[in-house]
Amino acid sequence: MANPVLILYAHPSPNRSKVNRYLFQAATALDFIRGHDLYDLYPHMHVDVAAEQQALRQHGAVVLQFPLYWYSAPSLMKEWIDTVLTSGFSHGGGEQALAGKKFMVAVTTGGGFNAYADGAVHGALLSTYLAPFEQTARFCGMHIELPFIVQGAGDIAASAVNEITEQYKSRLAGLGE
């Protein structure tokens, strides 16, 4: 693959994850993928900014992978965004290190597809809640790819996980071209 892909994976309780962790496991087995398991690397919430920025420089595509909690990412994902994407590195003049790279969100949600709609329990389309992440990437000059979404992931049958994983791998392969 010409274009190595960096996956930033944030799952605070991976041992209980029904889908997300298997996606990450399968993805990191691919040779053009580098995965950073943020909760494993930084269990005390202290992110190594220099190392993360260096990794970003070395990859042509960036994936934020996380379970959706309370209409957002787990807190370490936000901490990563806040500390790594600094003025002078990713935006605000200077290096513009992310400009021109591909960006994708890969998200699993507990609620099903129908729960995310105007007037439904979750009040709005899922895209509403992913917008802040995509806007962040856009602000840094990245190309936004369609998100990879698995809904109702808390109730998915184990037999279905395999197929979802294959779909994820093909999306990643597309990013890597």
Binding site: H11, P12, S13, P14, N15, R16, S17, K18, V19, N20, Y39, D40, L41, P43, H44, P67, L76, T108, T109, G110, V150, A153, G154, I156
Partner: protein, 600 residues
């Protein structure tokens, strides 16, 4: 037969009672155990109560303690470590011996003693006392320090140098003697013994040890350990070498064997007892009659002799690059005459090289110098070091700081805090009462002040009235609490953070008004606990959160239990109840975690 064995037991009883009565007392008084043994020996010896008559037999028997000591030292040093020490051993060691011999011999010749006799006596007196010096180093925990290494190197060189000296002296025999020193045969014997020890140590001992260890009979292992040391000692002595050197070599060869710790445990008590006996024998052999006859001459000779050796040692220390306080320590540690003086002087006397009255005088001088060493060391610790350390940085110099942080105690604990604050350019005033610490830290450009933080005047001098914060990182828990109480009384506005040894201290410190307390082992133990959970399959973050939760519960319990500190029964009740509560709380978390997949 019954009579002699009873006699033996009576003598043993005398030694044991004297040691038990006097040695702990001296240790309590801070004078060191060596001096205790010496005084105990003096008390029961011919000069004192006269309970023991045959001093010489005791002395030569107990010299075996020195041999055991050298064996144990050998066990601590494997061949590669010994090889690293080759420069100090031969460089510093030979410098010390040759310069001392030249000076002492020169004085002897100047005083009219025949050249050969003067040199022989000078050689005898140039040696120091291995047990006194090493015991003193061990008691102050400095065996591994730089000064300790240099002292040890010089002592080891002396052990080597005594061999040719013992061999050469008979060559100058005035009285006819059949033995004319080293022959080619004997040289061959020496080589054979050395090769024997090395080959045996490498290839023979392990299988034997394994065989004996397999019997699982402790006393047989002890017996074999002793047999090994005594056997090696006698073998080397038979070859004309010093026993101590032979057993030292055996120790070095066994330093890497898996039986090392077992050997140490077995030999250690014998060494301790025999060394005690040796010190007592030295105490007993103080010739009070001679001292009373010519007190002034003997005092002058002893002090002059020690001063001369001390100057040489100080110079050697400077050459080795030691700091001033280490040089002074080295000079005091090795300035005395040693047990080799007795052996060599006896030999010199037996071949008729020296007049008996001169030999007796020199033996008294050597004994007196051994006797004086613990006193001088005591004075060094209690009087000289405090003065020297104060001299270079006066307490009044501290006053420059304002709005600073005072860190009291700058060992491993305080240093971490100090490094953090200094890296942030926070003005820090460090107070420590260990002169060695201070000297060491000054080399790294730390501004460290000598003093006992539990003293009000020192706290005032360190600017406790104007400081922002006091961090108590002193190792001594009692002193730390005293200081906290003192500060609470006299500087109630100064916030204090304190290190605590254990749970009990935490409550006391909070009651003394300390704003923050941390148990010294707690955080690092929890960190290992966190790693353990991770190894057991917890995710890294989950392990961290679980440990933090445990930490929170534990600290809350600790705070609550401070209320019961004066009522032991309620405290124990509370501790029991809270342990059950803690288990319940952690159980809930665990169940929560082990529930089937709930997350996406």
């Amino acid at each position: 037969m019954v009579g002699t064995s009873q006699e033996f037991l009576e003598v043993a009883l005398t030694y044991l009672v004297a040691a038990i009565l006097i040695v702990p007392l001296f240790k309590r008084l801070g004078l060191g155990t060596v001096l205790g043994y010496l005084v105990a020996g003096m008390a029961i010896g011919p000069a004192g109560l006269g309970l023991i008559a045959d001093v010489h037999a005791t002395l030569s028997f107990s010299e075996f303690g020195v041999v055991l000591l050298m064996f144990l030292i050998g066990l601590e040093l494997n061949p590669s470590k010994l090889w690293q020490l080759r420069k100090p051993i031969f460089g510093l060691g030979s410098a010390q011996v040759f310069v001392s011999v030249a000076l002492l011999g020169g004085i002897g010749i100047f005083a009219g003693v025949p050249i050969i006799a003067a040199l022989a006596m000078a050689a005898a007196l140039s040696f120091s006392s291995t047990p006194i010096a090493l015991q003193a180093l061990q008691e102050r925990g400095q065996s591994g320090s730089m000064a300790g290494q240099s002292a040890f190197s010089m002592l080891l060189f002396q052990d080597i140098a005594v061999i040719p000296m013992l061999a050469i002296v008979p060559l100058f025999a005035v009285t006819t003697a059949g033995d004319s020193g080293f022959t080619l045969m004997e040289f061959g014997q020496v080589i054979a013994v050395f090769v024997g020890i090395i080959v045996g140590g490498r290839y023979l001992l392990r299988p034997i040890f394994r065989y004996i260890a397999a019997t699982k009979m402790r006393e047989v292992f002890t017996a074999f350990s002793l047999l090994l040391v005594i056997g090696t000692g006698l073998l080397t002595q038979y070859a004309g070498l010093s026993m101590a050197l032979g057993t030292f070599m055996a120790g070095v060869l066994l330093a890497e064997s898996e039986y090392r710790h077992e050997l140490e445990l077995n030999i250690e008590p014998f060494k301790g007892l025999l060394l005690g006996l040796f010190f007592m024998a030295v105490g007993m052999s103080v010739d009070l009659v001679l001292i009373l006859e010519k007190p002034l001459i003997i005092i002058a000779l002893t002090l002059g002799f020690m001063a001369l050796k001390a100057v040489v040692l100080y110079g050697v220390g400077a050459f080795a690059g030691h700091c001033r306080s280490d040089r002074i320590l080295l000079a005091i540690l090795l300035a005395q005459g040693g047990e080799f003086a007795f052996v060599l002087i006896a030999l010199v006397l037996s071949v008729g090289l020296v007049a008996p009255n001169l030999a007796a005088l020199m033996v008294v001088v050597a004994t007196c110098s051994m006797f004086l060493t613990p006193f001088i060391l005591w004075a060094h610790d209690k009087i000289l070091m405090p003065v020297l350390s104060k001299g270079s940085e006066r307490a009044t110099d501290i006053e420059a700081n304002e709005g600073h942080v005072i860190v009291a105690g700058f060992g491993r604990f305080g240093q971490i805090i100090g490094r953090l604050l200094l890296s942030l350019k926070v003005p820090v005033t460090v107070v420590d009462h260990d002169p060695n610490h201070i000297e060491f830290l000054r080399k790294f450009d730390y501004k460290v002040f000598y003093g006992d933080a539990s003293r009000l005047d020192l706290l005032e001098a360190a600017g406790a009235g104007r400081a922002k914060l006091l961090v108590l990182a002193i190792d001594d828990a009692e002193k730390l609490l005293q200081t906290a109480e003192l500060v609470n009384k006299h500087f109630p506005d100064l916030p204090v953070l304190a290190r605590a040894k254990n749970r009990g201290d935490v409550a006391k410190l909070f009651n003394a008004g300390v704003v923050g307390v941390r148990r010294e082992m707690f955080a690092s133990s929890l960190e290992i606990g966190e790693l353990a959970l991770k190894e057991l399959g917890y995710s890294a973050h989950q392990a961290h959160k679980t440990v933090m939760k445990f930490r929170g519960y534990d600290e809350n319990m600790l705070k609550a239990s401070a209320a019961f500190r004066d009522d032991e029964k309620s405290l124990i009740d509370y501790a029991k109840r809270s342990r059950i509560l803690l288990e319940q709380l952690m159980d809930q978390d665990r169940e929560e975690l082990s529930k089937p997949h709930k997350d996406w």
